[in-house]
Symmetry: C2
């Protein structure tokens, strides 16, 4: 049992919920998921490994993982909610290329500091923040120039 599983089990117990095998399967899949994933991708990934967990169960488990702090909701892609792991990862932000859909992750301590100051200015107690920048990666900038 790894740390993430332990964290999840404790969270479930604290909330008066049960640690079912399905929930553990989903967690395991999340821990090996690619960087950004949506509910459907997670469901399919589980099924690719011959684990039979219903789609509804996947959807139901996601908010539990979010509450537990193991994953967060991140950039929407094609209007769909997507998630990424937070367990063992540092907070970061994203640039999304409108051309090719590439996601560039970045972290800048100055940004973190500035956000903290801004929140203090408004006496706002921050829980989470997200910066999303949309535009064109360098490859697409070149491509768009070529196209005229």
């Amino acid at each position: 049992m790894n740390k993430a599983e332990k964290k999840f089990r404790e969270h479930l117990k604290r909330e008066g919920l049960k640690s079912t095998p399905e929930r553990m399967v989903i967690l395991r899949e999340v821990l090996s998921a690619k960087k950004h994933f949506n509910a459907d991708e997670l469901y399919e990934s589980i099924h690719k490994h011959n684990k039979k967990v219903s789609r509804a169960t996947v959807y139901r488990t996601i908010p539990l993982l979010v509450e537990c702090g193991l994953i967060i909701e991140t950039l929407r892609c094609q209007g769909r909610v997507s998630y990424e792991r937070t367990f063992g990862f540092e907070h970061h932000d994203h640039m999304v290329c409108l051309g090719c859909g590439k996601i560039i992750e970045f972290k800048d301590d100055r940004l973190e500091e500035l956000q903290t100051q801004i929140c203090e200015r408004y006496e706002f107690k921050q829980v989470e923040h997200r910066l999303g920048i949309r535009g064109y990666c360098k490859e697409c900038v070149v491509k768009r120039l070529d196209k005229g």
Copy 2:
């Protein structure tokens, strides 16, 4: 005919699209809309003024207004896309209170500058950016303390 309408008409013409009365009605409503609105609110607002424009037309027109730079998509509220005017407004960002839903708008030039630098670092040509901070406003912080 005001500047926004002129801008919209020119954009439509440039794109080989038509300036229909319905589109102008929708634009007028957008210009008098409250700060943040969703498609349904816009539709209802139009109907409150006895203007008969179909819901589908409202949905169809929104992306045109976005392309034209008159409105932008902004914070999602209850999973629904919401919009706000950009015409005649400065870019700003949002803090959303998880307690009461209040939206605090803010602008900080240091943030704008930093984002520009970050984009330069990655050679990313920025089209738009959004920072959303979620947490608790000072009233809700107090309320939550009271509750224990």
